[in-house]
Symmetry: C2
Subunit: 89 residues, 2 copies
């Protein structure tokens, strides 16, 4: 399955098919050294700060999902951008 | 299909099952306003810079994939981290 298919299948489905500006970020980490503490939570904050250079982000419109296994962790950020979003750069 | 399943299925398969430290980043953008130029290429550079605060990244070990449709674009970064990678922070 291609990337576009994955993201297409993961879009929220609803009766309203209004075109929404939306940004989705996944960070997956295969950890060879299991004991080390994860830096993904801090990475998440910094990635959000980078994104805010380009678009307005309402922190209430950000949803975060984090899954962890022994040697694998995935962080997912879903951001609904405001309809009036203008690129900042 | 869950996120972990997706990343598991997208891992390279080979006879060598050496545990590699690996980071994979996907950025998907649903664009309501189609005319506007994409900021994903610049975002990619900045995300890489953020990641380099936490781990050593050999730029030769980074592969980038970019797919675009009319109102949707996906950026994928695959980074093989050095075996001796130590968290910097």
């Amino acid at each position: 399955m291609g990337l576009l298919d994955y993201f297409r299948s993961s879009r929220p489905k609803g009766s309203a098919s209004v075109a929404k500006e939306r940004l989705q970020i996944l960070v997956a980490h295969d950890r060879a050294a299991r004991g080390r503490p994860s830096y993904l939570p801090r990475l998440q904050q910094e990635i959000l700060e980078v994104i805010r250079k380009y678009v307005e982000v309402d922190m209430n419109a950000v949803s975060v999902k984090y899954e962890q296994e022994a040697s694998h962790e995935v962080l997912e950020l879903n951001i609904i951008l405001p309809d009036t979003a203008q690129g900042r750069a």
